[in-house]
Subunit: 456 residues, 2 copies
Amino acid sequence: MAPGSPLSDLIRALPPGSVVTHADTLATYRQDRALDPDAGTPLALVRPTSTDEVQETVRWCAAHGVKLVTRGAGTSLSGGSTAVDGALMLSTERMRALHIDLPTRTATVQPGLMNSEVKVAAAQHGLWYPPDPSSFEICSIGGNVATNAGGLCCVKYGVTGDYVLGLQVVLADGRAVRLGGRQIKDSAGLSLTKLFVGSEGVLGVITEITLRLLPAQPPASTVVGTFPSVSHASRAVLAVTDRIRPALLEFMDKVTLNAVEDHLRMGLPREAEALLLAQSDAPGAAGRAEVELIQEAFTAHGAAECFSTDDPVEGEAFAAARRAAIPAVEKLGSLLLEDVGVPLPALPDLIDGVAAIAAAEDVTIAVIAHAGDGNTHPLIAFDPTDAAQRERAHRAFGQIMDLAISLGGTITGEHGVGRLKKAWLPDQVGSDVMQMTAAIKNALDPDGLLNPGVML
Amino acid sequence: MAPGSPLSDLIRALPPGSVVTHADTLATYRQDRALDPDAGTPLALVRPTSTDEVQETVRWCAAHGVKLVTRGAGTSLSGGSTAVDGALMLSTERMRALHIDLPTRTATVQPGLMNSEVKVAAAQHGLWYPPDPSSFEICSIGGNVATNAGGLCCVKYGVTGDYVLGLQVVLADGRAVRLGGRQIKDSAGLSLTKLFVGSEGVLGVITEITLRLLPAQPPASTVVGTFPSVSHASRAVLAVTDRIRPALLEFMDKVTLNAVEDHLRMGLPREAEALLLAQSDAPGAAGRAEVELIQEAFTAHGAAECFSTDDPVEGEAFAAARRAAIPAVEKLGSLLLEDVGVPLPALPDLIDGVAAIAAAEDVTIAVIAHAGDGNTHPLIAFDPTDAAQRERAHRAFGQIMDLAISLGGTITGEHGVGRLKKAWLPDQVGSDVMQMTAAIKNALDPDGLLNPGVML
């Protein structure tokens, strides 16, 4: 780096080692888990440790008109943290402070901690941070907030945004603001805290998060059922959700089951067309009643086998199998990852429709779903060396989002729009909402410095 | 109205009877429950029945540069719907459509329905809309959304915004947009649905709301304790919330108890310095354990009497007494209504501090609180004909907000900022957040047509 170059100012302003320009390192920060082949190369990588250092970085970007991409752990499945040519890459990986405040039952954390680290720290005090993306061991809490991430327990316990009480955010001009706080209720002014949840880095850089914690989750009982068709299973889901809110209600199809079994060798039923995994954490008799109701619903909708256990370790093994689905299916080929959601009654139509698209386009689509909240992940696996297959896979990718929109649903329930899904966002929300989005973006980031190419 | 006047265009554009200009009627729409003596007089009252009619009205305002105040049931306690001289008053009172969608467990409603009407409609299908402002029988659901209203059960079940899945909103230029929908999870685009919750009519006119419903609440057990001081009671609150999340945890001081007893004659303990009212709706043994824990916490913190009942009718009588507090205390004089909230551990400091302010300023302050979530309503009662007392009351009003801010809290937990509290908003959120608020307001309502004077 030439001493007189603008970047040398930033290098001087930050502690030694904060700014990285080695090509080899930069190459590892080009893509996230969406593996976008069109990813750019960052101008440099910045790894701040504090809000102050983020402010320095953003001020430098503003002064030099350099764009900024913020990256948590790089596990975005929709290209939310893909590098942009010539833009700075800000990684939150060194922002790892954590403070549990027992009296307010809150965790105040920097964004670079893993979701699992927040969970573990809370658990050490008998508390619980519920949101549990399948990637919870490798995804950052900052990324969770930026995408309003969900997970398995969200069907009963809500998504990330339901737990965010306060934020510290660095704006596009380098000012740092605090939004919300540790109080449970707050109607003072616009709901800016909630606006920044799910804003995917386009409105500011989140540098501190105050999260509401719950008492430890009661031990859960688990029910597993196997079904003769995906339609049977999706109808069994509605038979459960029409009557209770389970603590978890997950779906896996045959392709997924076999991919996971290849990966984990735990004895999953390879011949089943679909599997449902449900949990109840209601205490005592209420929990037993829920387990019975789930079993009845499964059996009434054709479950061949229906297994239940009160052993949390056994239940967790099934949940872990479900969480292993994406890495397992990734072995079948390159993946296009969907995250479409629909109002619950449309779940069977969505799942049947995905099967029809797979047949029509002759592509492999493994389907997993947070079935209890209508959020599905059709995983389109294709051979990247087969151009025709790749084209069919991309066509199916769009068709599935079109299908979800036509069913009154969303193109993304929990991953965010990122760069991969932004072409479909106007179809879902309409041009007026896109204009509102652009107006708010422009109000807070008039020079378009932050995470360019995402969402808009 | 002269035939050639601009208003005649609006009268022609809307169904007969939609626009009212009689001075007597307009006079009844000047104030809301905050009884602002500086309320203006509307140019006219418009009572649309549909989104289309709201669009006509807003387009007329935009074309003629006439400002617009939106009013639900007029129960704002912070002057959120106070009339402005020369502005149009849009009342949602005729927007009363309701549709319960059983498969998605949602209610889609127009804003003019009372909160209680939504509750009743949900209950007819075995479902429950939890948020329960004390004014639930006389406050509109649109106003609830506009203020992110809370209530008694929010300590366990969350506030209005936690139940809003979708909105239809008319923007300042007359366009109508749909935000969110009936799906539980949605990460597509900015969280605009959440931004409009609590926006107090300054960003758009909410014309339709889609609310998430829960299964019917299980029957609750009730515990009532009386305490020798407000400090004892507020410490008992923490002893409960440190261990469980009750379904309700309310506080009343001696002034309130006596005002309510004067009003209802139900045999409340007039001699107690404070009363706590708690409920558990956990099923079976878990509920019994919660009731025992609450009783222990109350007794350990000096409760003289501790009464419990499993009879929901008896429990509801106490909740009704708590909800009657504001009308009861209103009989003691004119009221300045506070809505300050703090992180829970600061609750005793807030309650002790309010008592100190009452003593120092020699004014009567009755205190009620949604104690379980740290949200308190000190009610400053004064004789409006006594200028010196009025001045002391207003000074106390500001001091209590200053106190809440100094304790890391909020000037409003659930009523909104309105016109009465906006002078304190910058002290709470800071000038940078005020600038962000103004930037977003300006992005969506550049001519400042909507609810001028509120929040900003």
